[in-house]
Symmetry: C2
Subunit: 313 residues, 2 copies
């Protein structure tokens, strides 16, 4: 199952513990979350979004956020990222020792208002303030700040999201000092042509700043969009085990791209993920045990690896 | 929901009534098959594979093949295609008035033996004989003969399928007088790079002969493969409503790419399918009523059209 490592590597980041669980009705016990996290590290994942620092009143699933982060740090050996929706959450994440903070705002004004109850520009200002806070604590180069532009390909509330708006935000967040820009198709509106065009345009605006892609598979185009992004040089992808997740403002949204299928796709086209597929499929089985009755997607678990599949890991 | 028609059109062919039903346990009544067929035509589909002329003992679902073909011809307004696994089935399809015959053989020797119990070269000879039979009946230019190369991207029985074998078969079937070559990823082993490479290579060998792509979504790469094939000029795609289907020799195979998701993807990248999406989604609802308890896939039905979606139809 091994072949010579290819020069081209890709970072596949697990977001199931955050974006995946966000939409799951049942509260997963903290210990189970940490078991999941530990298993995922053992599979070879080097970055995991372990939780979200949001008010427990808005998403009870993350009431144990500080405890999960603490447990994740104790596991070690990977970058423990935490999602935050505002400066307050960001400062909390800095104080609690997150390795990386993913700060989310929406290119769609309507979505930003629904999601974090303030205009997008106000959120961008909070990101700038978060950079200042981090640097003032001497954490520059120690805690990475990723700026996530949600609904970058369209919005289920307002419809079209102008590409110029995404480019302006990209420029502003890059200038603020983001260590990474993550471009998110929160509601599954993107198509491969659009993905190629937008990532290429953002690259032109922000230069060598690393770009990440966060796709949902709401209308089945998730993995086609991964290929499109990879083709224009994107090497950081988010995915959720079993395709868990969705968005509270995307009706019928069927969740993130499935980690196992995305990993398989990336390896198939010669992009090395460093992931142990046998372990990953074992973890995928455990996920179903942990979340009985939940709709869990992903085709690789059912079909298994192809006889012709050679992992580049 | 309309925009100016784009110059680039694509033929999306429904194979649910054949490849989809092949793996379904319950026998769909003939009248229901014809209702499905009629609805699909009303959605704008110009080609439908309506049944398979195989021995009823091997697939009882198709015991009514002649009756279905007769009913489909009575509906009219579209190309009624019939799949056949050998010369005998082909002659029966000619006699019964099929508009098009899709003759399937496998590039994998092991798969061909399992599927039709003869070596691949023997099947190719039968295709050559079928061309002769058709022409002798004065049906050249009236009944199209499509040669399907199954397991062209790998085989769940024998593993690797050499690309040279696929190219040699392509050359032979084209020389025999095929009106179309259909390249099938029967077991979901193909990846986008492989798809691009193989279709480009086949084009070089067979020149302007139309190529069709038949993808399964066994490991989630089906729609990414559609994009890859479209990029190298393929404009004919098979799909099954609700992603029905599979292959008896592909363990855990989760079926064809879903017609509704594929149509949506193609329109999204500016390839006009001529399909009425509202009607198609209504038909998709009926499919679930017709096949209670069956595993039916496809994301578009759950998520609905994006607000930003403009059909090119």
């Amino acid at each position: 199952m091994k072949r010579m490592p290819l020069p081209d590597k890709v970072d596949l980041r697990e977001v199931g513990l955050r974006d995946g669980l966000q939409m799951v009705g049942q509260i997963l016990p903290t210990q189970t979350k940490l078991d999941w996290c530990r298993d995922q590290v053992a599979c070879g994942f080097s970055e995991i979004e372990v939780t979200s620092f949001v008010p427990p009143s808005s998403i009870p699933q993350f009431a144990d956020a500080a405890e999960v982060l603490k447990g994740a740090k104790a596991i070690g050996g990977f970058t423990a990222a935490v999602l935050v929706p505002n400066l307050k959450g960001g400062i909390r994440a800095l104080e609690r020792g997150a390795d990386k903070i993913t700060f989310v705002l929406s290119a769609s004004e309507a979505h930003n208002m629904s999601n974090v109850r303030r205009p997008t520009d106000a959120s961008a200002t909070e990101f700038e303030d978060l950079v200042t806070e981090r640097d003032a604590r001497g954490l520059k180069g120690k805690v990475a700040l990723s700026a996530v532009i949600a609904t970058a390909f369209g919005c289920s509330i307002q419809g079209e999201v102008p590409e110029d708006r995404v480019l302006d935000l990209s420029e502003r967040l890059a200038a603020a000092g983001a260590d990474e820009l993550s471009i998110a198709d929160t509601v599954g509106y993107g198509n491969p042509l659009q993905v190629r065009r937008l990532f290429a345009a953002i690259s032109t605006v922000v230069g060598p700043l690393p770009l990440a892609a966060h796709f949902h598979d709401t209308r089945g185009m998730g993995l086609a969009n991964v290929i499109a992004a990879a083709e224009v040089g994107v090497r950081r992808f988010d995915a959720a085990l079993g395709g868990l997740g969705g968005c509270p403002f995307a009706p019928g949204a069927t969740g993130n791209i499935a980690t196992e299928d995305c990993a398989y796709l990336l390896e198939s086209i010669g992009l090395s993920t460093g992931i142990d597929f046998e372990r990953l499929l074992q973890l995928r089985v455990r996920l179903e045990e942990w979340l009985p009755g939940e709709r869990i997607e992903g085709r690789l678990k059912q079909a298994g690896l192809a006889k012709t599949f050679l992992s580049a890991a």
